[in-house]
């Protein structure tokens, strides 16, 4: 939660991911099919930074890829998967079942509450539910607290202050001011509760442009910013591009086996840098994903 006041934080992906220490707690921005910090995830895998405690709400291929790379020790998310479209996350699921990662599953609202405790500088906060569910058993770090006014007993949760928040934004400036579109998911909370935010942006823009669009995460929360076009691919980064449903399907199919997942990692992650990644996906395909705005029909066709 320190502030980051340097006037220019623009740098390379390799330098940015090196700010993440092995064994640290990492918050993943975005969620499901939107604004996942994929370039940073790929960068972490390339750099071999592992033993991570990842936290977040509902996520998909970001966690799944890190799990496939063996980079996660604890997964404290509320959901990992591809909804009804592609179902369970194969690599995450395999790692959880084998016990090579600890699935310390949580609830969106509990994580929100723990981040708020960190933001508010409080050593605990109460949550409404959890009591009586098996989620409580996965979290020996929770406790109970009794309201001094009503006598009601709540589950008490400790603050969650990640070492780093990884966030992708469509635009940001060199100082680290970031504009994102709703849903912000937990990104605002992550940026405040974490010791630092590491950001990728599709495009570096002048401060005036970012301010006119609306600064959602201010520069003093951001330790490093990297220009990474299509850095959220295969998730979306509106208003730039939609998510790549076919690519997600191909990953899920490949990842059904350990070998398939490793082949994908070799090909799309460790075998290339981000320039190479974009070439592999192909300019035509990426261009196609930017065409969602032409008409409702064009947008719908992306998902057919």
């Amino acid at each position: 939660m320190a502030v980051h006041l340097a006037p220019d934080k623009l740098g390379e992906l390799e330098t940015a991911v090196a700010l993440v220490q092995p064994g640290s707690m990492v918050a993943l921005g975005g969620g499901l099919s939107a604004r996942l910090p994929m370039a940073l995830v790929r960068g972490l895998i390339r750099a071999g930074i592992g033993d991570l405690h990842v936290v977040g709400s509902a996520h998909s291929i970001d966690v799944d890829l890190l799990a496939a790379a063996g980079a996660i020790s604890v997964c404290e998310e509320s959901y990992v998967g591809y909804e009804q479209d592609h179902g369970l996350a194969p690599a995450f699921r395999r790692a959880a079942q084998e016990g090579s990662l600890e699935a310390r599953e949580s609830c969106c609202d509990t994580i929100l509450t723990q981040l708020r405790a960190a933001e508010m500088g409080l050593s605990f906060l109460p949550v409404h539910g959890v009591k009586g569910t098996d989620i409580e058993r996965l979290h020996p770090e929770y406790s109970r607290v009794t309201c001094p006014f009503t006598g009601h007993q709540y589950v008490a949760v400790p603050p969650l202050a990640p070492d780093a928040a990884l966030i992708h934004a469509p635009i940001g400036d060199r100082q680290g001011n970031l504009h994102i579109k709703q849903p912000y998911v937990l990104d605002e909370r992550f940026a405040v509760a974490s010791a630092m935010t590491i950001a990728t942006v599709d495009r570096i823009a002048p401060t005036d442009e970012v301010a006119a669009a609306g600064i959602v995460i201010p520069y003093y929360r951001v330790a490093a910013v990297v220009e990474s076009p299509f850095g959220a691919h295969p998730s979306s980064s509106y208003p730039g591009y939609s998510y790549d449903r076919a690519h997600l399907a191909s990953w899920v199919a490949a990842a059904r086996t350990h070998e398939g997942a490793q082949d994908y990692l070799d090909r799309y992650v460790t075998g290339v840098d981000e320039d190479g990644y974009r070439r592999l996906i192909g300019g035509d395909r990426l261009e196609h994903l930017t065409g969602y705005g032409a008409s409702d029909e064009a947008w719908m066709e992306l998902f057919r």
């Binding site: 509902a58 539910g129 569910t133 509106y238």
Partner: protein, 269 residues
């Protein structure tokens, strides 16, 4: 003159019927049937409902189609305002949401649901996706409409969940009121076979889809259940209602919740 509707279409209309007008309604993610049902209700009997659109948290959008991912921006179309994540969750936990849709890979007779794991954690047989915000929200939201499209498998409606992710009417630790939970808990459970309610906090069969028998339901259900004295078939929707389902969801995303055999079921209207 012949007009046939699919089970998926009847199913979402049945879900829509659990929404009342001028209510605050939410579903979260991974629930295309609930998404379609919410828009169906809003365009028919619940025009003043406040819809919170999936994981976009957009208020009252009118999307041109339902996207296969519930936080795609296409689902925000026409919405003047999107809630922040924290606004939506605060609203639910303080009891300002009337209805949430919730599904489960396992559902017990008390309406507890498991979306965490089949088999024992920490190294389960099948690690499922996880519960999103349900663990807290199920404690406080006005009432819950549960649904599953996997009743017939015999593995969904079970005597005991392997893991309780979201809270129903009672858990081994006590009833909702003993646990201090203000929400009303599960009100209705819609399956691809029929509809249950919870008159005493325990599932009771209330309706059957027209092509399903009580015996089939009994065979597919892992717990004993009461049968309502007025057990009857699900009310058949009108053709307009079915047309509306198709207009709301031209991609047929709702169909991805069903096994192929269920999608072959059709009904003459």
């Amino acid at each position: 003159m012949s007009y046939r509707a699919g089970l998926d279409e009847l199913f979402v209309v049945e879900l829509a019927r659990t929404i009342r007008d001028a209510e605050v309604v939410f579903h979260g993610f991974g629930s295309p049937c609930a998404t379609v049902a919410m828009h169906h209700a809003k365009r028919t009997h619940a025009p003043h409902a406040l819809l919170i659109e999936g994981a976009t948290y957009a208020v009252n959008p009118s999307p041109a189609f339902i996207a296969p991912s519930s936080n795609d921006h296409s689902l925000k179309r026409g919405s003047a305002y999107s809630m922040r994540f924290e606004e939506a969750f605060d609203m639910s936990v303080r009891g300002d949401m009337d209805l949430m849709f919730l599904s489960g890979i396992q559902i017990d007779p008390h309406g507890n649901t498991n979306v965490t794991a089949v088999g024992a954690m920490p190294n389960p047989k099948v690690k499922l996706g996880g519960g999103g915000g349900g663990c807290n929200m199920s404690a406080t939201i006005g009432r819950l409409t549960l649904w599953t499209t996997n009743h017939r498998s015999g593995r969904c409606l079970v005597e005991e969940c392997d893991f309780i992710t979201d809270i129903g009417h009672r858990t081994p630790e006590g009833t909702r009121s003993e646990l201090g939970y203000p929400g009303g808990g599960p009100d209705v459970l819609v399956t691809e076979m029929g509809v249950f309610d919870y008159p005493e906090g325990r599932a009771r069969l209330r309706r059957l889809f027209p092509d399903v028998t009580l015996e089939e339901v009994t065979a597919a259900t892992g717990f004993e259940f009461a049968v309502a004295p007025d057990l009857a078939p699900v009310q058949t929707p009108s053709r307009d209602q079915i047309d509306l389902v198709r207009a709301i969801d031209p991609l047929g995303v709702r169909r991805r919740e069903f096994r192929p055999a269920e999608l072959e079921r059709s009904f003459s209207l």
